[in-house]
Amino acid sequence: MDNFWTTLLYAFLSMFLIFNYGMLLGGVVYKIIARVHGRFGPPVWQPYVNLVKVMGVRTAISHGIMFWLGPVFRFAGGIGLFLFMPVVFGSVWMQNFSFSGDLLLVIYFIFFGQLGMALGAAESGHPYSPMGIMRGLAQVTVSEVPFALAVIALAAQHGTLSITEIVAAQQGGIANWNMITNPVATLAGMMAFLGMMMHAPFNLHLAPQEIPVGPPTEYHSNFLGYMQANRAFFASAKLILFMNLFFGGATNIPVLVGKTFTLYMFAVFVGVVNPRFTLENSIRWFIRIPTATGIIAVLLYTF
């Protein structure tokens, strides 16, 4: 980190790339889902058009300062999550900011956005928003538990809380990936991953049938634009995180694309064919299976 400004520049560049990647990934995944439905699906660039559209909406209603801080918080959460992870291991410009305890910060950032949304959505006054937030927070919290346990197991395994170091430890072939070296933690982590990716069966909080789109019910215009942009960020950041933690990170961009896409497809693969859990079901499930798996993983490395 010889020159702060260069790093910052690189960070912006990678942010730009990852944003576009997230957008395109969304488009492609919709197309794939559509194929299962037996149709063609929207064009790949549709997320961009949607983004321009919402940004071009002429009026916007704010319900107060917290209301518009919600998307900002969320956006910050996404960027925060992204900025503390090495995107391409060993690359100069996609290294981002890394320090020894960044894994903890990352876990925090995953949650951060939801909290911000909670404040904003509560301000909106629409009953569906708090309900969605309530469900969303419960969902995130409950999937954080096995995730945290898996992270603890990893930390115990590698003796570090730095993502970069964890990635570094996994270099040198598939046999070194945590997926192989620590399968139980990976299992717990991947189950948590399902819970975080907002696909069925764990997407009750934004289900249109139960409550219209959940937290963002009242969000529109540029608020929604920020949230959409964040979604692209957040999704790809999460993918990168899981790739880094369990699947050996990426050393170049094709590997990055391949791994993250596969990871995303995993969530989609499960999501398309399943209905949603209700919240109790989902909490019960998370407490039971993934958490137990996580505890086993932790126990395995503690003893």
């Binding site: 299962v36 037996g38 149709r39 063609f40 398309v272």
Partner: protein, 588 residues
């Protein structure tokens, strides 16, 4: 919950590798099915503007509107349906009811507009992209909502009826009348076709409502000779009947007869006509035929005193003397005339104007005069042998029959002509015991007689010899007649649209018969015309103003003596018109 339950759902992914169900180009790939009920189309030339579609539309989506390019003509109101797609529900009842089958639906279904007022158009007139669509919903024979078959009156079988002059048609039963009335679409296209413009839908509706008394009242508004007309009318209305375009027309005449038959006993009670306030004016009517009687009836309703001068000893004119009893029984005619007379008409029987009383005297005595003497003299054919014994004119023959004289017909009678008089003569001669043969110079389609008459005549054994005309009649030594004839062929259509016959060279032939009845037309008695000094046309009819029937200040003329020989209903119309304008003139 088993492992199977977790794994099995992933089967769904195999659909990802199948061809999607999506229609790639929905706007061009999938047109409506062959039967699709899309936007309307209308064959403007076939459409008669009857308004059945408007009537049946429960959404009030259809309006009948003026169309510049279509003019009203007999059997076509000139209006065309305009459809509001802000109302239409595409049920296609309008298509299913359409009597002509002109209305249909295309299989086109896209019409987008920014303006809600756009969604109206006249199918077939306004240019739309589906106008010439071949596919789409059309009314088929089975989906037509109207029964194409008409009810038939029970008739005495031809073999029995040809033995006597009894009325052979029995009239509708109640069920038949209801069924037949039920076929009527209430469109009213027939009203125009009727010379006296009877409110046909109204009285059919009365039958439908089982309110025959009202039906009778409705009919008397336009026609006081309804019982006679219910039997012998030429039923022009049925020719234009909307249902007739694709099925048999409504039996309007029979329905009229049905009302008459059911109500005649209580006619006075039903009609309950109070004498109108007297105006103190006097009107004289010369000739007690349908025109005269009609005029008399309505003039009485206007409150004028009426005197009828009749040369015979019975009223009825041609209805009495020209129509045999099997079609119009004498008592039916008589009871109808009696009803008119009960309105206070003074009749002078057996008075021939110009002989028994002078025209000038009448002219002086009355405030107005209506001449309805009819065309009583049979026309002659310009051929040799007309004066031969055994050659009658149609009217002469029928008059004899009507008087009960039983004229000689021998074994074989030849009737020349194709009108109703010819048919009457034919069937009368059959009833008198002859075999009848009809000579007509055009084809059967062109015959002016009613179709039914022709059919029934044939049923009774009349032989039809079309495209033939007599050229000479000779008396054979055996006492029989030899009628030399010529074959004809049809040439170009003339002004009236009928194709005129052209003689075929070298096609002479002859037939033998005992009598020959010339039913080729009638004319007004020339001696009478001379006595009254009215203007006379080249056909021998009186020339009067065509609208008001007025010639000079107080003389009116109408009926056959004005139009030339025509049917009874025309005479009724003339009588009515005369009554109206006489009244108008008398009131100033």
């Amino acid at each position: 919950m088993s492992l199977k339950d977790i794994v099995s759902p992933f089967n769904a992914w195999k659909r990802a590798f199948e061809k999607p169900d999506t229609i790639v180009k929905p706007l061009s790939e999938r047109e409506g099915s062959d039967l699709y009920r899309g936007f309307h189309i209308n064959d403007i030339d076939k459409c008669i503007g009857c308004g059945s579609c408007e009537e049946i539309c429960q959404n009030a989506a259809i309006d009948l509107v003026d169309v510049a390019s279509v003019k009203a003509k007999p059997g076509d109101s000139g209006l065309r349906p305009l459809i509001d797609y802000g109302r239409c529900c595409w049920c296609a009842l309008c298509v299913d009811i359409c009597p002509t089958g002109s209305l249909g639906m295309s299989n086109d279904y896209t019409w987008i507009s920014e303006n809600s007022d756009d969604f109206r158009f006249i199918p077939g007139i306004d240019e739309k992209k589906w106008n010439r669509s071949e596919k789409g919903y059309r009314r088929s024979a089975e989906s037509w909502l109207v029964d194409p078959n008409r009810q038939h009156m029970n008739e005495i079988e031809p073999d029995k009826r040809k033995k006597n002059f009894d009325e052979y048609a029995e009239g509708f039963t109640d069920e038949q009348a209801m069924a037949e009335a039920g076929r009527c679409l209430d469109c009213g296209i027939c009203i125009q076709a009727c010379p006296t413009h009877m409110d046909v839908p109204k009285y059919i509706n009365a039958i439908r409502n089982k309110d025959l008394d009202e039906g009778l009242r409705i009919m008397y508004e336009t026609n006081p000779m309804l019982e006679a007309c219910g039997r012998i009318c030429t039923a022009k209305c049925e020719d234009v009947c909307a249902v007739g375009h694709n099925g048999k027309p409504i039996a309007i005449r029979s329905l009229k007869r049905y009302i008459g038959d059911q109500t005649f006993k209580k006619k006075d009670e039903i009609m309950d006509l109070k004498p109108a306030a007297s105006t103190g004016r006097k009107v004289g009517i010369i000739g007690g035929g349908p025109a005269g009687l009609t005029a008399a009836f309505y003039l009485r309703r206007f409150g004028h005193a009426v005197t009828l001068y009749e040369q015979h000893d019975k009223l009825g004119g041609m209805l009495k003397w020209g129509i045999p009893d099997y079609r119009l029984p004498a008592d039916v005619l008589q009871r109808e005339i009696d009803f008119i007379l009960r309105q206070g008409v003074e009749v002078k029987y057996s008075v021939k104007v110009g002989k028994d009383i002078s025209f000038d005297q009448l002219h002086k005595e009355n405030d107005a005069l209506f001449i309805s003497v009819g065309a009583q003299i049979g026309s002659d054919m310009p051929i040799k042998g007309m004066e031969t014994e055994g050659v009658y004119s149609g009217v002469e023959f029928l008059e004899k029959v009507a008087k009960g004289e039983k004229p000689f017909v021998g074994k074989e009678a030849v009737i020349v002509g194709g009108g109703n008089t010819a048919m009457d003569a034919t069937r009368s001669s059959i009833r008198l015991g002859a075999k009848a043969k009809i000579l007509y110079r055009r084809t059967e389609q062109e015959m002016p007689a009613n179709r039914e008459e022709i059919r029934e005549a044939k049923e009774e054994g009349a032989e039809l010899k079309i495209l033939s005309t007599p050229t000479k009649i000779e008396k054979l030594p055996s006492g029989r007649l030899k009628i030399e004839c010529l074959k004809m062929e049809l040439g170009e259509p003339d002004k009236s649209g009928r194709r005129s016959p052209v003689p075929k060279e070298g096609s002479e032939f002859y037939i033998e018969a005992d009598v020959c009845i010339m039913a080729i037309g009638q004319k007004v008695e020339p001696e009478f015309s001379e006595t009254i000094g009215l203007k006379v046309t080249k056909w021998g009819t009186f020339e009067v103003h065509s609208d008001t029937l007025r010639s000079n200040d107080k003389v009116f003329a109408g009926g056959d003596c004005q139009t030339g020989p025509d049917d009874a209903i025309k005479a009724v119309a003339a009588g009515k018109k005369a009554a109206y304008f006489i009244d108008k003139q008398l009131r100033g």
